[in-house]
Protein backbone atom coordinates (compact mmCIF):
# COMPACT_ATOMS: atom_id res chain seq x y z
CA UNK A 1 0.00 0.00 0.00
CA UNK A 2 1.18 3.47 -0.74
CA UNK A 3 2.00 6.10 1.78
CA UNK A 4 1.05 9.66 0.91
CA UNK A 5 4.39 11.09 1.96
CA UNK A 6 4.08 14.21 -0.09
CA UNK A 7 0.53 15.36 -0.14
CA UNK A 8 0.21 18.19 -2.65
CA UNK A 9 0.46 21.71 -1.41
CA UNK A 10 -2.59 23.86 -1.04
CA UNK A 11 -4.36 21.20 1.00
CA UNK A 12 -7.55 22.56 2.46
CA UNK A 13 -8.64 21.43 5.91
CA UNK A 14 -10.49 18.16 5.99
CA UNK A 15 -14.21 18.16 6.55
CA UNK A 16 -15.52 15.01 8.21
CA UNK A 17 -18.92 13.61 7.27
CA UNK A 18 -21.42 14.06 10.07
CA UNK A 19 -23.68 11.19 9.18
CA UNK A 20 -22.39 7.90 7.78
CA UNK A 21 -23.62 7.28 4.24
CA UNK A 22 -23.05 4.07 2.32
CA UNK A 23 -23.01 2.97 -1.30
CA UNK A 24 -25.75 0.39 -0.92
CA UNK A 25 -25.84 -0.87 -4.49
CA UNK A 26 -24.47 -0.20 -7.95
CA UNK A 27 -25.56 -1.27 -11.42
CA UNK A 28 -24.60 -0.31 -14.93
CA UNK A 29 -25.67 -1.07 -18.47
CA UNK A 30 -23.34 -3.04 -20.68
CA UNK A 31 -21.30 -0.34 -22.39
CA UNK A 32 -21.63 -0.43 -26.16
CA UNK A 33 -20.59 1.68 -29.14
CA UNK A 34 -24.20 2.12 -30.19
CA UNK A 35 -27.47 0.90 -28.74
CA UNK A 36 -29.96 1.72 -31.47
CA UNK A 37 -32.71 -0.50 -30.12
CA UNK A 38 -33.50 1.23 -26.85
CA UNK A 39 -34.43 4.78 -25.99
CA UNK A 40 -33.17 6.36 -22.74
CA UNK A 41 -36.07 5.04 -20.68
CA UNK A 42 -35.62 1.51 -21.96
CA UNK A 43 -31.87 1.71 -21.37
CA UNK A 44 -32.32 2.91 -17.78
CA UNK A 45 -35.15 0.64 -16.61
CA UNK A 46 -33.12 -2.59 -16.26
CA UNK A 47 -30.25 -0.69 -14.64
CA UNK A 48 -32.48 0.86 -11.99
CA UNK A 49 -34.30 -2.44 -11.50
CA UNK A 50 -30.94 -4.14 -10.85
CA UNK A 51 -29.81 -1.41 -8.44
CA UNK A 52 -32.99 -1.90 -6.41
CA UNK A 53 -33.27 -5.65 -6.93
CA UNK A 54 -29.77 -6.53 -5.79
CA UNK A 55 -30.60 -5.25 -2.30
CA UNK A 56 -34.26 -6.30 -2.45
CA UNK A 57 -35.77 -2.83 -2.25
CA UNK A 58 -38.23 -0.90 -4.41
CA UNK A 59 -38.59 2.73 -5.45
CA UNK A 60 -40.72 3.22 -2.34
CA UNK A 61 -37.65 2.65 -0.16
CA UNK A 62 -35.78 5.75 -1.40
CA UNK A 63 -36.88 9.26 -0.45
CA UNK A 64 -34.72 11.25 -2.88
CA UNK A 65 -33.86 10.82 -6.55
CA UNK A 66 -31.13 12.68 -8.40
CA UNK A 67 -29.84 12.22 -11.94
CA UNK A 68 -27.14 13.54 -14.24
CA UNK A 69 -27.39 13.94 -18.02
CA UNK A 70 -27.04 16.50 -20.79
CA UNK A 71 -29.49 17.56 -23.47
CA UNK A 72 -26.77 17.99 -26.06
CA UNK A 73 -26.11 14.26 -26.36
CA UNK A 74 -29.65 13.57 -27.52
CA UNK A 75 -30.12 16.85 -29.32
CA UNK A 76 -33.37 17.83 -27.64
CA UNK A 77 -34.24 19.92 -24.59
CA UNK A 78 -35.34 18.34 -21.29
CA UNK A 79 -33.93 14.87 -21.98
CA UNK A 80 -33.95 14.16 -18.24
CA UNK A 81 -37.70 14.73 -18.07
CA UNK A 82 -38.81 11.64 -19.97
CA UNK A 83 -35.98 9.59 -18.45
CA UNK A 84 -37.77 9.93 -15.13
CA UNK A 85 -40.40 7.56 -16.51
CA UNK A 86 -37.85 4.80 -15.99
CA UNK A 87 -38.31 5.24 -12.24
CA UNK A 88 -42.06 5.74 -11.96
CA UNK A 89 -42.23 8.74 -9.61
CA UNK A 90 -45.74 8.17 -8.35
CA UNK A 91 -46.77 9.23 -5.79
CA UNK A 92 -44.66 12.38 -6.43
CA UNK A 93 -41.08 12.30 -5.12
CA UNK A 94 -38.39 14.73 -4.05
CA UNK A 95 -36.28 14.74 -7.18
CA UNK A 96 -33.50 16.81 -8.70
CA UNK A 97 -31.22 16.81 -11.74
CA UNK A 98 -27.78 18.16 -12.54
CA UNK A 99 -26.61 18.90 -16.06
CA UNK A 100 -23.34 17.21 -15.08
CA UNK A 101 -21.87 13.75 -14.80
CA UNK A 102 -24.02 11.77 -12.38
CA UNK A 103 -21.07 11.68 -9.95
CA UNK A 104 -22.20 15.21 -9.07
CA UNK A 105 -25.79 13.97 -8.73
CA UNK A 106 -24.36 11.49 -6.23
CA UNK A 107 -22.75 14.42 -4.43
CA UNK A 108 -26.05 16.32 -4.28
CA UNK A 109 -27.80 13.25 -2.87
CA UNK A 110 -24.98 12.71 -0.35
CA UNK A 111 -25.44 16.31 0.85
CA UNK A 112 -29.13 15.67 1.59
CA UNK A 113 -28.31 12.44 3.41
CA UNK A 114 -25.63 14.29 5.40
CA UNK A 115 -28.21 16.80 6.45
CA UNK A 116 -30.79 14.20 7.33
CA UNK A 117 -33.19 15.60 4.73
CA UNK A 118 -33.32 12.10 3.21
CA UNK A 119 -32.37 8.60 4.34
CA UNK A 120 -31.88 6.83 1.02
CA UNK A 121 -31.42 8.03 -2.52
CA UNK A 122 -31.45 6.69 -6.05
CA UNK A 123 -28.83 8.31 -8.27
CA UNK A 124 -28.54 7.60 -11.96
CA UNK A 125 -26.84 8.90 -15.06
CA UNK A 126 -27.26 8.16 -18.72
CA UNK A 127 -25.93 9.26 -22.04
CA UNK A 128 -25.67 8.06 -25.57
CA UNK A 129 -22.71 9.45 -27.42
CA UNK A 130 -23.62 7.54 -30.57
CA UNK A 131 -26.45 9.84 -31.60
CA UNK A 132 -24.41 12.80 -32.80
CA UNK A 133 -20.85 13.86 -33.56
CA UNK A 134 -19.20 14.02 -30.13
CA UNK A 135 -16.31 16.14 -31.39
CA UNK A 136 -18.73 18.84 -32.52
CA UNK A 137 -20.99 18.54 -29.49
CA UNK A 138 -18.21 18.87 -26.93
CA UNK A 139 -16.85 21.95 -28.71
CA UNK A 140 -20.01 23.68 -27.48
CA UNK A 141 -18.76 23.30 -23.88
CA UNK A 142 -16.23 26.01 -24.59
CA UNK A 143 -16.39 29.79 -24.13
CA UNK A 144 -19.16 30.72 -26.56
CA UNK A 145 -17.52 33.97 -27.66
CA UNK A 146 -13.83 33.19 -28.05
CA UNK A 147 -13.48 29.40 -28.33
CA UNK A 148 -16.64 27.65 -29.49
CA UNK A 149 -16.81 29.61 -32.78
CA UNK A 150 -13.46 28.04 -33.67
CA UNK A 151 -14.91 24.53 -33.08
CA UNK A 152 -11.82 23.04 -31.43
CA UNK A 153 -12.47 19.33 -30.95
CA UNK A 154 -11.89 17.70 -27.56
CA UNK A 155 -9.22 15.32 -28.89
CA UNK A 156 -7.09 18.23 -30.06
CA UNK A 157 -7.45 19.96 -26.69
CA UNK A 158 -6.44 16.75 -24.92
CA UNK A 159 -3.49 16.45 -27.30
CA UNK A 160 -2.31 19.93 -26.26
CA UNK A 161 -2.35 18.71 -22.68
CA UNK A 162 -0.51 15.50 -23.54
CA UNK A 163 2.12 17.48 -25.47
CA UNK A 164 2.62 19.78 -22.49
CA UNK A 165 3.17 16.74 -20.29
CA UNK A 166 5.76 15.29 -22.68
CA UNK A 167 7.51 18.63 -23.09
CA UNK A 168 7.72 18.92 -19.31
CA UNK A 169 9.62 15.64 -19.32
CA UNK A 170 7.00 13.93 -17.18
CA UNK A 171 5.72 11.35 -19.65
CA UNK A 172 6.41 9.66 -22.95
CA UNK A 173 4.11 8.32 -25.61
CA UNK A 174 5.16 4.85 -24.46
CA UNK A 175 3.71 5.65 -21.04
CA UNK A 176 0.33 6.37 -22.66
CA UNK A 177 0.50 3.04 -24.50
CA UNK A 178 1.37 1.21 -21.31
CA UNK A 179 -1.68 2.67 -19.58
CA UNK A 180 -3.92 1.73 -22.50
CA UNK A 181 -2.51 -1.82 -22.60
CA UNK A 182 -3.11 -2.27 -18.87
CA UNK A 183 -6.64 -0.87 -19.24
CA UNK A 184 -7.49 -3.23 -22.10
CA UNK A 185 -6.17 -6.23 -20.20
CA UNK A 186 -8.00 -5.34 -16.97
CA UNK A 187 -11.19 -4.82 -18.95
CA UNK A 188 -11.16 -8.51 -19.90
CA UNK A 189 -12.50 -9.24 -16.43
CA UNK A 190 -15.15 -6.50 -16.66
CA UNK A 191 -18.25 -7.92 -18.37
CA UNK A 192 -19.57 -4.40 -19.03
CA UNK A 193 -16.44 -3.10 -20.74
CA UNK A 194 -16.50 -2.05 -24.35
CA UNK A 195 -12.77 -2.22 -25.21
CA UNK A 196 -11.07 -5.31 -23.76
CA UNK A 197 -8.08 -7.08 -25.21
CA UNK A 198 -4.84 -8.75 -24.21
CA UNK A 199 -2.40 -6.52 -26.02
CA UNK A 200 1.09 -5.26 -25.26
CA UNK A 201 2.08 -1.61 -25.31
CA UNK A 202 4.58 -2.05 -28.13
CA UNK A 203 1.80 -3.24 -30.41
CA UNK A 204 -0.34 -0.21 -29.52
CA UNK A 205 2.60 2.06 -30.32
CA UNK A 206 2.29 0.94 -33.95
CA UNK A 207 -1.07 2.69 -34.28
CA UNK A 208 -1.26 5.93 -36.22
CA UNK A 209 -1.76 9.27 -34.47
CA UNK A 210 -5.29 10.58 -34.24
CA UNK A 211 -3.94 13.93 -33.12
CA UNK A 212 -0.24 13.88 -32.27
CA UNK A 213 0.91 12.86 -29.68
CA UNK A 214 -2.27 10.84 -29.10
CA UNK A 215 -2.74 7.54 -30.89
CA UNK A 216 -6.07 5.78 -31.09
CA UNK A 217 -5.42 3.79 -27.88
CA UNK A 218 -4.93 6.95 -25.82
CA UNK A 219 -8.48 8.10 -26.65
CA UNK A 220 -11.70 6.98 -24.97
CA UNK A 221 -14.16 4.89 -26.95
CA UNK A 222 -17.51 6.40 -27.92
CA UNK A 223 -20.03 4.76 -25.64
CA UNK A 224 -23.74 4.47 -24.96
CA UNK A 225 -24.33 3.70 -21.32
CA UNK A 226 -26.12 4.25 -18.04
CA UNK A 227 -25.52 3.56 -14.37
CA UNK A 228 -27.27 3.78 -11.02
CA UNK A 229 -26.23 3.87 -7.37
CA UNK A 230 -28.38 3.62 -4.26
CA UNK A 231 -27.12 5.63 -1.29
CA UNK A 232 -28.23 4.78 2.22
CA UNK A 233 -27.73 6.49 5.56
CA UNK A 234 -28.03 5.31 9.13
CA UNK A 235 -30.23 2.29 9.80
CA UNK A 236 -30.96 1.66 6.14
CA UNK A 237 -27.26 1.29 5.38
CA UNK A 238 -27.07 -1.59 7.86
CA UNK A 239 -30.39 -3.09 6.78
CA UNK A 240 -29.30 -3.28 3.16
CA UNK A 241 -25.79 -4.61 3.72
CA UNK A 242 -23.96 -6.70 6.31
CA UNK A 243 -20.76 -4.82 5.51
CA UNK A 244 -21.64 -1.36 4.23
CA UNK A 245 -19.20 0.55 2.04
CA UNK A 246 -19.00 3.95 3.71
CA UNK A 247 -18.28 7.27 2.04
CA UNK A 248 -15.71 8.85 4.35
CA UNK A 249 -15.00 11.95 2.30
CA UNK A 250 -16.49 13.69 -0.71
CA UNK A 251 -15.51 16.95 -2.41
CA UNK A 252 -15.21 18.55 -5.83
CA UNK A 253 -13.54 21.67 -7.24
CA UNK A 254 -13.45 23.60 -10.51
CA UNK A 255 -10.61 25.44 -12.25
CA UNK A 256 -10.67 28.35 -14.63
CA UNK A 257 -11.95 27.72 -18.13
CA UNK A 258 -9.29 29.30 -20.29
CA UNK A 259 -6.71 26.66 -21.18
CA UNK A 260 -4.10 29.38 -21.59
CA UNK A 261 -4.53 30.39 -17.95
CA UNK A 262 -3.92 26.87 -16.61
CA UNK A 263 -0.88 24.66 -16.23
CA UNK A 264 -2.36 21.71 -18.08
CA UNK A 265 0.18 19.26 -16.66
CA UNK A 266 -1.22 19.43 -13.14
CA UNK A 267 -4.66 19.16 -11.55
CA UNK A 268 -4.79 21.39 -8.50
CA UNK A 269 -8.57 21.07 -8.24
CA UNK A 270 -8.19 17.31 -7.86
CA UNK A 271 -5.62 17.82 -5.08
CA UNK A 272 -7.81 20.27 -3.21
CA UNK A 273 -10.84 17.99 -3.47
CA UNK A 274 -8.74 15.02 -2.32
CA UNK A 275 -7.45 16.93 0.69
CA UNK A 276 -10.95 18.06 1.62
CA UNK A 277 -12.15 14.48 1.28
CA UNK A 278 -9.44 13.27 3.65
CA UNK A 279 -7.70 11.11 1.06
CA UNK A 280 -4.23 11.84 2.39
CA UNK A 281 -4.99 10.68 5.92
CA UNK A 282 -4.44 7.02 5.07
CA UNK A 283 -3.35 4.95 2.11
CA UNK A 284 -5.79 3.49 -0.39
CA UNK A 285 -5.69 0.08 -2.07
CA UNK A 286 -7.62 0.94 -5.22
CA UNK A 287 -8.22 4.08 -7.28
CA UNK A 288 -10.80 4.42 -10.02
CA UNK A 289 -9.71 7.44 -12.03
CA UNK A 290 -11.93 9.06 -14.63
CA UNK A 291 -9.27 9.74 -17.26
CA UNK A 292 -10.85 9.74 -20.71
CA UNK A 293 -7.40 10.21 -22.24
CA UNK A 294 -4.50 7.98 -21.17
CA UNK A 295 -2.17 10.83 -20.20
CA UNK A 296 -4.81 12.27 -17.85
CA UNK A 297 -4.42 9.23 -15.61
CA UNK A 298 -0.82 10.30 -14.92
CA UNK A 299 -1.90 13.83 -14.02
CA UNK A 300 -4.67 12.69 -11.71
CA UNK A 301 -2.50 9.95 -10.17
CA UNK A 302 0.01 12.61 -9.20
CA UNK A 303 -2.68 14.97 -7.91
CA UNK A 304 -4.03 12.16 -5.74
CA UNK A 305 -0.45 11.33 -4.58
CA UNK A 306 -1.01 7.65 -5.36
CA UNK A 307 1.97 5.36 -4.91
CA UNK A 308 2.87 2.66 -7.38
CA UNK A 309 1.33 -0.07 -5.25
CA UNK A 310 -2.18 1.35 -5.64
CA UNK A 311 -4.26 -0.64 -8.11
CA UNK A 312 -5.49 1.86 -10.66
CA UNK A 313 -8.64 1.33 -12.71
CA UNK A 314 -9.15 -2.40 -12.22
CA UNK A 315 -12.37 -1.98 -14.23
CA UNK A 316 -10.38 -0.81 -17.23
CA UNK A 317 -11.43 2.80 -16.58
CA UNK A 318 -12.69 5.29 -19.12
CA UNK A 319 -10.36 3.92 -21.82
CA UNK A 320 -12.40 0.70 -21.70
CA UNK A 321 -15.79 2.47 -21.72
CA UNK A 322 -16.63 6.16 -21.51
CA UNK A 323 -20.39 6.63 -21.26
CA UNK A 324 -20.55 10.40 -20.98
CA UNK A 325 -22.58 11.63 -17.97
CA UNK A 326 -22.29 8.29 -16.15
CA UNK A 327 -18.58 7.45 -16.54
CA UNK A 328 -17.77 9.38 -13.35
CA UNK A 329 -20.56 7.74 -11.38
CA UNK A 330 -19.32 4.35 -12.59
CA UNK A 331 -15.88 5.08 -11.10
CA UNK A 332 -17.52 5.44 -7.68
CA UNK A 333 -19.52 2.26 -8.22
CA UNK A 334 -16.50 0.27 -9.39
CA UNK A 335 -14.36 1.44 -6.46
CA UNK A 336 -17.15 0.59 -4.01
CA UNK A 337 -17.46 -2.84 -5.62
CA UNK A 338 -13.77 -3.57 -4.81
CA UNK A 339 -14.41 -2.80 -1.18
CA UNK A 340 -17.63 -4.81 -1.11
CA UNK A 341 -15.81 -7.81 -2.60
CA UNK A 342 -13.04 -7.56 -0.03
CA UNK A 343 -10.34 -6.79 -2.59
CA UNK A 344 -9.83 -3.37 -1.02
CA UNK A 345 -10.39 -1.80 2.34
CA UNK A 346 -10.03 1.84 1.36
CA UNK A 347 -10.53 3.20 -2.15
CA UNK A 348 -10.78 6.50 -3.98
CA UNK A 349 -12.93 7.37 -6.98
CA UNK A 350 -12.42 10.37 -9.23
CA UNK A 351 -14.68 12.02 -11.81
CA UNK A 352 -13.96 14.82 -14.24
CA UNK A 353 -15.83 17.29 -16.40
CA UNK A 354 -14.90 19.92 -18.95
CA UNK A 355 -11.93 20.26 -21.27
CA UNK A 356 -8.54 19.03 -20.01
CA UNK A 357 -9.71 18.07 -16.50
CA UNK A 358 -11.27 21.47 -15.69
CA UNK A 359 -13.56 20.17 -12.94
CA UNK A 360 -12.82 17.25 -10.64
CA UNK A 361 -14.56 15.25 -7.95
CA UNK A 362 -13.05 12.93 -5.35
CA UNK A 363 -14.94 10.35 -3.29
CA UNK A 364 -13.16 8.31 -0.60
CA UNK A 365 -14.73 5.08 0.60
CA UNK A 366 -13.91 2.54 3.29
CA UNK A 367 -15.13 -0.87 4.32
CA UNK A 368 -16.36 -1.68 7.79
Amino acid sequence: MSSPENPPSGSAPRRRPVRPVSIASFAQARNVRQDDHHNEVEMLMPVIAEAFGSISITKDDVDFICSGSTDYLIGGPFSFVMALDAVGVWPPRAESHVEMDAAWALYEAWVLLQEGAADAALVYGFGRSSLGDLNEILALQLDPYYLAPLWPDPVSLAALQARALIDAGRATEADFAAIAARSRKDALSNPNAQVAKDVVASTLMEEAYVVSPLRRHALPPITDGAAAIVLAAGEKAHQWSDDPVWITGFDHRIETHSLGARDLTVSPSTSTAAARAGLFEAPVDVAEIHAPYAHQELIVKEALALGDSVVINPSGGALAANPIMSAGLIRVGEAAARIASGEAHRAVAHATSGPCLQQNLVCVMEGA
Binding site: D36, H38, K59, D85, G132
Partner: protein, 175 residues
Protein backbone atom coordinates in the same frame (compact mmCIF):
# COMPACT_ATOMS: atom_id res chain seq x y z
CA UNK B 1 -5.17 50.00 -35.07
CA UNK B 2 -1.76 51.20 -33.88
CA UNK B 3 -0.25 54.32 -35.42
CA UNK B 4 3.26 53.02 -34.99
CA UNK B 5 4.57 49.60 -33.99
CA UNK B 6 4.70 49.28 -30.24
CA UNK B 7 3.09 52.62 -29.69
CA UNK B 8 -0.23 53.29 -28.00
CA UNK B 9 -3.18 52.27 -30.08
CA UNK B 10 -5.43 55.01 -31.30
CA UNK B 11 -8.97 54.46 -32.37
CA UNK B 12 -9.56 56.93 -35.14
CA UNK B 13 -13.31 56.50 -35.40
CA UNK B 14 -15.92 55.39 -32.92
CA UNK B 15 -17.53 52.32 -34.41
CA UNK B 16 -19.61 51.63 -31.31
CA UNK B 17 -19.52 48.53 -29.14
CA UNK B 18 -19.77 45.00 -30.51
CA UNK B 19 -23.16 43.83 -29.27
CA UNK B 20 -23.73 40.65 -31.24
CA UNK B 21 -21.59 37.78 -32.41
CA UNK B 22 -23.39 35.27 -34.61
CA UNK B 23 -22.17 31.69 -34.32
CA UNK B 24 -24.18 29.40 -36.58
CA UNK B 25 -24.46 25.97 -34.96
CA UNK B 26 -25.71 22.95 -36.80
CA UNK B 27 -25.71 19.53 -35.21
CA UNK B 28 -27.20 16.38 -36.69
CA UNK B 29 -28.52 13.59 -34.49
CA UNK B 30 -29.79 10.08 -34.98
CA UNK B 31 -33.08 9.39 -33.25
CA UNK B 32 -33.81 6.12 -31.49
CA UNK B 33 -37.52 5.61 -30.81
CA UNK B 34 -36.86 2.45 -28.83
CA UNK B 35 -38.62 -0.91 -28.71
CA UNK B 36 -42.06 0.21 -27.53
CA UNK B 37 -42.34 3.35 -29.63
CA UNK B 38 -41.23 1.38 -32.69
CA UNK B 39 -44.27 -0.84 -32.29
CA UNK B 40 -46.48 2.27 -32.13
CA UNK B 41 -44.80 3.67 -35.26
CA UNK B 42 -45.12 0.39 -37.16
CA UNK B 43 -48.81 0.45 -36.24
CA UNK B 44 -49.10 3.87 -37.87
CA UNK B 45 -47.56 2.40 -41.01
CA UNK B 46 -50.44 -0.09 -40.97
CA UNK B 47 -53.00 2.66 -40.42
CA UNK B 48 -53.81 1.87 -36.80
CA UNK B 49 -53.06 3.12 -33.30
CA UNK B 50 -51.11 0.60 -31.21
CA UNK B 51 -50.99 1.20 -27.46
CA UNK B 52 -49.44 -0.78 -24.65
CA UNK B 53 -50.87 -1.92 -21.35
CA UNK B 54 -49.02 -1.74 -18.02
CA UNK B 55 -48.93 -5.14 -16.32
CA UNK B 56 -49.15 -3.50 -12.87
CA UNK B 57 -51.88 -0.84 -13.19
CA UNK B 58 -53.54 -2.09 -16.43
CA UNK B 59 -53.57 1.42 -17.90
CA UNK B 60 -53.17 1.68 -21.68
CA UNK B 61 -50.62 4.15 -23.00
CA UNK B 62 -50.48 5.43 -26.56
CA UNK B 63 -47.81 6.02 -27.58
CA UNK B 64 -45.83 4.16 -24.93
CA UNK B 65 -42.27 5.28 -24.36
CA UNK B 66 -41.49 1.80 -23.09
CA UNK B 67 -42.37 2.19 -19.44
CA UNK B 68 -45.40 2.80 -17.30
CA UNK B 69 -44.68 6.34 -16.05
CA UNK B 70 -46.14 5.65 -12.62
CA UNK B 71 -44.92 2.09 -12.03
CA UNK B 72 -41.57 2.27 -13.81
CA UNK B 73 -41.96 -1.17 -15.41
CA UNK B 74 -41.80 -2.07 -19.12
CA UNK B 75 -45.11 -2.02 -20.99
CA UNK B 76 -45.09 -5.25 -22.94
CA UNK B 77 -48.69 -6.09 -23.92
CA UNK B 78 -49.82 -4.51 -27.20
CA UNK B 79 -53.37 -3.17 -27.48
CA UNK B 80 -54.93 -2.00 -30.75
CA UNK B 81 -57.00 1.11 -30.20
CA UNK B 82 -60.01 2.58 -31.93
CA UNK B 83 -59.78 5.18 -34.66
CA UNK B 84 -62.15 7.41 -32.72
CA UNK B 85 -61.84 9.38 -29.53
CA UNK B 86 -62.92 12.36 -27.46
CA UNK B 87 -61.54 15.89 -27.27
CA UNK B 88 -60.82 16.39 -23.58
CA UNK B 89 -59.61 19.98 -23.94
CA UNK B 90 -58.16 22.23 -26.62
CA UNK B 91 -56.84 25.62 -27.58
CA UNK B 92 -56.90 27.65 -30.77
CA UNK B 93 -53.39 28.52 -31.92
CA UNK B 94 -53.26 31.99 -33.37
CA UNK B 95 -49.58 32.76 -32.97
CA UNK B 96 -47.22 32.56 -35.92
CA UNK B 97 -43.74 31.15 -35.37
CA UNK B 98 -40.87 29.62 -37.28
CA UNK B 99 -41.36 26.08 -38.51
CA UNK B 100 -45.14 26.28 -38.53
CA UNK B 101 -46.62 24.29 -41.38
CA UNK B 102 -50.32 24.86 -40.72
CA UNK B 103 -52.28 27.99 -41.50
CA UNK B 104 -53.37 29.86 -38.37
CA UNK B 105 -55.74 29.84 -36.61
CA UNK B 106 -55.86 26.11 -35.98
CA UNK B 107 -57.17 23.88 -33.22
CA UNK B 108 -54.75 21.96 -31.08
CA UNK B 109 -56.62 19.43 -28.93
CA UNK B 110 -55.99 16.68 -26.44
CA UNK B 111 -57.54 13.57 -27.99
CA UNK B 112 -58.38 10.58 -25.81
CA UNK B 113 -58.73 7.53 -28.06
CA UNK B 114 -61.39 5.02 -27.04
CA UNK B 115 -59.66 2.32 -25.02
CA UNK B 116 -56.67 4.48 -24.06
CA UNK B 117 -55.91 6.00 -20.66
CA UNK B 118 -53.85 8.94 -21.89
CA UNK B 119 -54.72 11.69 -24.33
CA UNK B 120 -52.28 13.09 -26.85
CA UNK B 121 -52.10 16.33 -28.77
CA UNK B 122 -53.72 16.33 -32.19
CA UNK B 123 -54.69 18.77 -34.92
CA UNK B 124 -58.45 19.20 -35.46
CA UNK B 125 -59.79 20.18 -38.88
CA UNK B 126 -63.09 20.30 -40.77
CA UNK B 127 -64.71 22.29 -37.95
CA UNK B 128 -64.77 26.08 -37.54
CA UNK B 129 -62.61 27.23 -34.61
CA UNK B 130 -65.65 28.71 -32.86
CA UNK B 131 -67.57 25.43 -32.94
CA UNK B 132 -65.01 23.25 -31.21
CA UNK B 133 -66.11 21.83 -27.83
CA UNK B 134 -64.73 19.85 -24.95
CA UNK B 135 -66.22 16.36 -25.24
CA UNK B 136 -66.54 16.48 -29.04
CA UNK B 137 -66.18 13.05 -30.63
CA UNK B 138 -63.58 12.86 -33.38
CA UNK B 139 -62.03 10.36 -35.78
CA UNK B 140 -58.59 10.15 -37.30
CA UNK B 141 -58.20 10.99 -40.97
CA UNK B 142 -55.30 9.06 -42.40
CA UNK B 143 -53.21 9.72 -45.47
CA UNK B 144 -53.79 7.50 -48.49
CA UNK B 145 -52.81 3.88 -47.90
CA UNK B 146 -49.78 4.04 -50.21
CA UNK B 147 -48.51 7.07 -48.27
CA UNK B 148 -48.70 5.43 -44.85
CA UNK B 149 -45.37 5.48 -43.02
CA UNK B 150 -44.08 4.76 -39.50
CA UNK B 151 -44.73 8.36 -38.49
CA UNK B 152 -47.49 10.46 -36.99
CA UNK B 153 -47.49 12.20 -40.34
CA UNK B 154 -49.65 9.21 -41.37
CA UNK B 155 -52.48 10.88 -39.44
CA UNK B 156 -53.48 13.98 -41.37
CA UNK B 157 -55.71 15.28 -38.60
CA UNK B 158 -58.80 14.48 -36.56
CA UNK B 159 -62.32 15.62 -37.49
CA UNK B 160 -65.74 15.45 -35.86
CA UNK B 161 -67.34 12.07 -36.56
CA UNK B 162 -70.92 13.20 -35.93
CA UNK B 163 -71.50 11.28 -32.70
CA UNK B 164 -73.12 13.06 -29.75
CA UNK B 165 -70.61 14.75 -27.42
CA UNK B 166 -69.19 12.63 -24.64
CA UNK B 167 -70.49 13.43 -21.17
CA UNK B 168 -68.05 15.58 -19.13
CA UNK B 169 -68.10 12.96 -16.37
CA UNK B 170 -66.65 10.35 -18.74
CA UNK B 171 -63.46 12.27 -19.47
CA UNK B 172 -62.98 14.70 -16.59
CA UNK B 173 -60.35 12.49 -14.96
CA UNK B 174 -58.23 12.93 -18.08
CA UNK B 175 -58.09 16.72 -17.76
Amino acid sequence: MADEPGGPSTVTEDRGPVTTLATPIRLDFNFTPGVAQSRFLMGLADGKFMGQRCSVCSKVYVPSRGSCPTDGVPTIEDVELANVGTITTYCVVNVPFAGQSIEIPYICAQVLLDGANLSFMGLIQEVPTDQIRMGMRVEAVWVDREELSPSLASVRYFRPNGEADADYETFKEYL
